[in-house]
Symmetry: C3
Subunit: 437 residues, 3 copies
Amino acid sequence: MVVYKPESAEQGAALGRAMHGLATELFPICRSITGDGVRQTLGIIKRELPDLQIFEVPSGTPCFDWVVPNEWNIRDAYILDPSGQKIVDFKQNNLHVVGYSVPVEGSFALKELRAHLYTQPERPDAIPYVTSYYKEHWGFCLPYRQYRALPSGTYRVKIDTTLQPGSLTYGEILMPGASEREVLLSTYVCHPSLANNELSGPVVTIALAKWLAEQPRRYSYRIVFIPETIGSIYYLSRHLDHLKRTVDAGFVVTCVGDDRAYSYMPSRLGGTLADRAALHALRHSGHDFTRYSFLDRGSDERQYCSPGVDLPVASLMRSKYATYPEYHSSDDDLSLITPAGLQGGFKMLQRAIESIEANRRYRTTTLCEPSLSQRGLDPAIGTNDAAEAVRDMMTILAYADGNHDLLHVAEMLNVPVAQLAETAARLQQQNLLAEIG
Amino acid sequence: MVVYKPESAEQGAALGRAMHGLATELFPICRSITGDGVRQTLGIIKRELPDLQIFEVPSGTPCFDWVVPNEWNIRDAYILDPSGQKIVDFKQNNLHVVGYSVPVEGSFALKELRAHLYTQPERPDAIPYVTSYYKEHWGFCLPYRQYRALPSGTYRVKIDTTLQPGSLTYGEILMPGASEREVLLSTYVCHPSLANNELSGPVVTIALAKWLAEQPRRYSYRIVFIPETIGSIYYLSRHLDHLKRTVDAGFVVTCVGDDRAYSYMPSRLGGTLADRAALHALRHSGHDFTRYSFLDRGSDERQYCSPGVDLPVASLMRSKYATYPEYHSSDDDLSLITPAGLQGGFKMLQRAIESIEANRRYRTTTLCEPSLSQRGLDPAIGTNDAAEAVRDMMTILAYADGNHDLLHVAEMLNVPVAQLAETAARLQQQNLLAEIG
Amino acid sequence: MVVYKPESAEQGAALGRAMHGLATELFPICRSITGDGVRQTLGIIKRELPDLQIFEVPSGTPCFDWVVPNEWNIRDAYILDPSGQKIVDFKQNNLHVVGYSVPVEGSFALKELRAHLYTQPERPDAIPYVTSYYKEHWGFCLPYRQYRALPSGTYRVKIDTTLQPGSLTYGEILMPGASEREVLLSTYVCHPSLANNELSGPVVTIALAKWLAEQPRRYSYRIVFIPETIGSIYYLSRHLDHLKRTVDAGFVVTCVGDDRAYSYMPSRLGGTLADRAALHALRHSGHDFTRYSFLDRGSDERQYCSPGVDLPVASLMRSKYATYPEYHSSDDDLSLITPAGLQGGFKMLQRAIESIEANRRYRTTTLCEPSLSQRGLDPAIGTNDAAEAVRDMMTILAYADGNHDLLHVAEMLNVPVAQLAETAARLQQQNLLAEIG
């Protein structure tokens, strides 16, 4: 794996624009945790990543404490006001319909209708994002300002949906590496027209998969595009033993598209390779970042890190879900995420992955310091770079006791682990280091 | 056990007054580590707690490095000045006589007498509290101001005491609970007319025992009223194996009567259930408190926490012994302790005990998060209380891995453990949690 | 061992002057990692310490990754300028010749010569100290100011050295103590005319050896005078098993002669007895000190603490190598080290050694606190010293659980461990403590 090889600014910008373009293509699709929106989304992802395997899990399939729900599809939905004017229209914005709304057609007095209307008073011009997956219900979401101005009278309402046995759809790629040890990337494809949370996750994950495909890989990469919660629960219910045996690190890829912040969410107990790599990437990025607690969790780490599952999964984000004002509203749109924001999210995850690839555990092959001069490892005297190179070399050797991995040494020296990895490789070539397990 | 059920302000105040009333009744009795003063005191305690068992341990009984001393009793003691006036009188204040003074009757020149007089120059109007349990001696204590003004001449002195084989007296109650695991409360009854240190300990312990008697108890409660040091040493010498097997937490109840401070004294190594419950109670009390070191120890934790004994015993106090100016002098009187002070000491210990009762260790019964909605545990959307309830529920589940107990989760969430205990009980009823051990 | 018995100020000053005098005698000798300069130095050390054993290790002897190099000796070396004037003369200062220079005799244009000249531009009047042990090379060192003023023309150069099979010379003393457990002192004798780094190390070590010879010793002391790096590597290659079995603590004695700072360099992982004793000595010295990281290492701790060797070796220094401006230049001369500076270095190491000698691990012989009064250990009431004595006694007993050694208790109480050692000895005499291990 080529580590920390910075693309040119131009290549980086092009990648950012490409990701934003893909998000723009995916944006209008009405996704949910099941249904044709997910299938259409996975179809586009498969176009980008032809190795993607797509799975259909029948409604009613039990998984741990849950059952795969009925499949939901929607054709149309609207509200006509007393004057017959269409004031809320699913075709204008798919956030207008409460996700998983059951079909309805009829007339309602304003007062009756209100029990089915959702707004966000503190953000009066935005349409909030609301779902009711597991309680049969119907509803509309609309700006609070519009809601407040509704005249009394009789409203005609139509929601043309189906909620019936079908299946839950998800996608998976396994990219084999030199080792069968795995890194897991998990992102979700269940949010309708929302951008940072959540189209940024799938588009950055696609970019990471394309990048990984071009690299020699030490680790194998397992990448899943699933609906949040029920998707990860189903996936874990079928693959837990394998994952517990093989996954050394994983990331939930979510909220990686705006350009306002970097964020870190630890695994449940912290300190896993994923946590260490994420923090290492952030610390050496030159960017400030916010360190959240697992108490602030909110996405699929809730499943991956649950007791008895305990996979080493952390999150590296831009502005974290539930912390920014546009969250779960129509304001989380394509203007909120930017090419530069997506590029930053991509790069940070790339660096964390590179750190994992670069990290190794060594033991010295000789007692005491080796003689560098007899091997020509002693650089010409005098330059600062040379002094740093010798310092790196000697410190790698000094801590090559089988207990301290390269990431540990890198943190001690406050340098990127990739810098040490090259030095360590040279020492290994000279038979001064032996890799462990 | 009903946890954190606050009595009404009126009930609380009544309890405070009742405790102060009992202290007032006990105050005049001349207690020591043995003798009729202890018996009389235990008699009053047995009137309050009829299940109290009273034990007599014969003088000369060996216990670890010690031997139960002779029994001491006093009828009278005084000093007549050269003019024949009674200037120091045991009947005015029992602190006037050095505890365990041997009998004496005779005339002494002032200079000879001075070798037997004790004062506290930095507190010139107070009578200090002095004892000489293990070295045969006699003496009087008096205000420094009075001492300085003694005219020269011949003084008549009488101390009418007995120091001869008898017994050491102590009391014990065992209040069985659902489990045989025990909580130990230890308080001492060897101080004469002193109030914060030490009548507050026995009166608050009596109140705790009465309160515990009315509760369903998970733990069994072992409560001892003993003389300090020799009492706990004797008690441990006879019950150590049992205590080491069964005691999960214990408190030395001492200095719980004034209204100026809250204090915490850890067990020797800290971190026991008693330490954690004490700190939890203090942190969630809304009061500031002082955290002492075990180096500041001074009461029966010296024995309970000694190497090889190592019981999980901490102290929760108001103003700690040896830190307040009236300590061990006649100024530590019934005006120093207040109904509110005693009430505060009682409440803090009550909360620590409630925290111990509320603390449990769980494991989830399902992998991944359970489906709350299918169980009706998902509260109506929208209120902040509901959000907190869900957060509590999900966090209890997230840490129900067998390693983190409820106290740990409560400290993470910064909420009282009793709040979590109710939520955990609901989850257990729904078979989502299984209690461990 | 008599601990913390301060010599009189006069005795201390006399010791400082004696150490400085010995440094003055040793200063002119041209030492290197092999050769007659080392032999002559060890001869003087043997005059001071007649039990010193001197060893010769033949060139070509393999040791771990290394081979003992050829022996280097020098008779003369100089540069004649174009006018025939001797402008650089080994006989004026042995730093003028790059250590291990191969012989050369010839004429060189200034430009050719420059490739063999070394200066220190940031310290333009000083001769730098340069060596080339493992790459065949020759060179001269001179002040930058002189170097800049060299006229062009042809220079005559002569270096009259031999570099051929011979041996590496080192010295060792083992001073047996009551136990076979060892303390290691390691210092180096390979630097030519340099004072803080490094004649201070040998002269302070000689003083420590003389002092130790007069003390009853609990530990055995192994003291080595070796060339840096190759000396410690050779020594470890022959004695590692023994050292790993017997050494409880060790110090590299280096840079202990100036009067500007105190410094501490930890062992690789820290926390060894040597680290704890060094920090204890420093903390209770009343002096400020700098705490370096093992990343700042630079002397034989690089070998003693290397993975798999891992001896408990730390360094207690005055101004640490590579941190003071005169380091490795002719300004590190006899005016840089002072009698007071050497005396301070000696004292700090003495205190660390005393702390090691004083440190013991105990277990109480009785459960609960013992009865001090029946043993006369209860001092007369009232003085502050007595209160401190009782506090020390009770705290030693409270932590005599087999896990906390006296150094630990001393750090808790913030007192010198030697103070506790006397108290602990008294408790042991009274059979209240039993020593462990």
